[in-house]
Symmetry: C2
Subunit: 324 residues, 2 copies
């Protein structure tokens, strides 16, 4: 800045102003400064700026998995909105572990982010303590609670599982099974589904809990296991459309008809779900809105609006297609 200023015949501060508050500088000097910047190829140093202003213009975001489209798709929209306001996003993967989450929060807080995005509402005591004493806006997504750290945006997984069970009964199914990946929210949906379906039909609902992430191959294995257990007629609620897709493929390879023999309900409404054979009946959550709302809430808080936003329920929608 010193150099640029000398070249433009002004002091270093004026260069700073030209960059952050162009209106506060006369048009002529602004022009000279911009020329000087072009000539020197000056690149501002945001770390010095962050230190001086105590604003890093950095937002930290923690997701369970960056390769899972459900999370990466959401993050894409979140980042797009956040970036448009001049912030950068430091994204990290927690791998569904609270200890890992705590370690990452500690590391990220050293970067003095202006805001933080967390996935889910269950965090370790240590994490909550750090978050509170950091004194920055925090938004928790994908789930809702009455006691968020700061703001939460999501929907009720229990209601989702419950409603899917009602839907399945409405479609006339008398027997059901459930398959869930090793995701705490998926398990809550599954539990709510099983409880409600049992309640409605007085039947037992077999469950399969995976110890891994959802995938087509896990879906195939799950159906194989269910069939081996004698389940070859009824509806299966999956925690992910990937599992549902796998079940459809496995059913096909076993010459079981979907949905006549095995019906399938997925979760997530992924981009392929309307294009499989048959198309997948699923639960749709608007990830674009969820990501954008999270960004908006964070931006609003970071700009000092201590508005009374606490909890936003974005809801969900059951999309009836041909698989169930």
């Amino acid at each position: 800045m010193e150099t640029v200023g000398r070249l433009a015949g002004v002091s270093q501060v004026t260069v700073s102003r030209a960059l952050n508050n162009p209106k506060k500088v006369s048009p002529q000097t602004l022009k000279r400064i911009q020329d000087a910047i072009a000539v020197t190829g000056y690149v501002p140093n945001l770390v010095a700026g962050a230190l001086a202003s105590r604003r890093s213009h950095l937002v930290a975001a923690l997701v369970p998995s960056i390769t899972n489209i459900v999370y990466s798709g959401l993050m894409k929209h979140f980042i797009d909105v956040i970036r448009a306001s001049g912030y950068h996003v430091l994204m990290s993967e927690t791998g569904f572990s609270q200890e890992e989450e705590q370690a990452i929060v500690a590391a990220l807080l050293s970067r003095r982010p202006d805001g933080l995005l967390l996935t889910g509402i269950h965090h370790s005591a240590g994490t909550r303590r750090m978050l509170l004493s950091a004194g920055i806006p925090v938004v928790e997504i994908w789930d809702i609670t009455d006691t968020p750290v700061d703001i939460c945006i999501g929907f009720s997984h229990i209601k989702a599982g419950h409603d899917v069970a009602d839907f399945a009964r409405m479609r006339g199914y008398h027997r059901a099974a459930a398959v869930a990946a090793n995701d705490e929210r998926a398990l809550r949906r599954k539990d709510a589904f099983c409880a409600r379906f049992s309640e409605l039909t007085k039947t037992d609902v077999p469950e399969i809990c995976l110890d891994s992430a959802a995938s087509i191959s896990r879906g195939r294995e799950a159906l194989a296991r269910l069939v081996a257990q004698g389940f070859d007629k009824g509806v299966i609620f999956c925690s992910s459309d990937l599992l549902a897709h796998g079940i459809i493929i496995e059913a096909q390879s076993r010459h079981l008809n979907v949905p006549q023999d095995i019906a399938v309900i997925g979760f997530g409404d992924q981009d392929f779900s309307a294009h499989t054979l048959p198309p997948i009946t699923t639960v749709h959550v608007d990830r674009e809105i969820l990501g954008a709302r999270a960004a908006d809430a964070l931006l609003s808080r970071m700009n000092g609006n201590d508005a009374n936003i606490r909890c936003i329920d974005v809801g969900f929608e059951i999309i009836a297609r041909d698989s169930a």
Copy 2:
């Protein structure tokens, strides 16, 4: 640090040492300092540290799309290795656009990253200029060239397309078509495939270039278009396993047999590719090795090893399954 030092009965500098170079501090004072840190809940400020030491411990990474598993999967491995060395990764999405890439590079350089990862080897002149004058290690992935900005790690897309054509001929196919998403590297693979297959068979190879990212639904549409053009017998080379999967589904819905009528070769060897009906013949690239090598190369350069690494060819492998 001042506060922590007072509590431990030492100066601020000693606290800094205890954190960065514990061996240079006597065991007793180290203990006192650690206790003081625990008591105060002190969180180091890395932005001040970065300013003073001129090392941000930050690595910037630019990928075309964060929702595409091909890129996010690679980044996962890259990030895992980089993080283990105490660096954080600032990941951004370029959307396959060079202008966007340049804008993002400019923005990220303000954060003074210690290293940079770029996807592909084609960048705007402005980007190259900024990169050069930034004077930091740069690694370009997914492709190889004799003239990298600094280091490149990948494989030859032309050779991949060429080899797939040879493979297809070897499997006995006399007619071929190609489908590619709007990714510059995908187009080069497609061109090489078409050229080689034409050369071998003296036949025309119809092509479909999408103006969007690969997906199952795009694959279905592509087969529909090819069939409409009269292509209902032969092998189709796709730029992604997602497209290949879509083609399999569309073939099934049209009662075309795979591979007897329509054979399909994908690209990427995604985790579902071995589990479709039939399993997808594809091109495998080891994303874990690619990501880890990129991280290693960057770390080594950032640690001052001006080793003579310039270009690493990680190769690829054609995985023969049942779809072709």
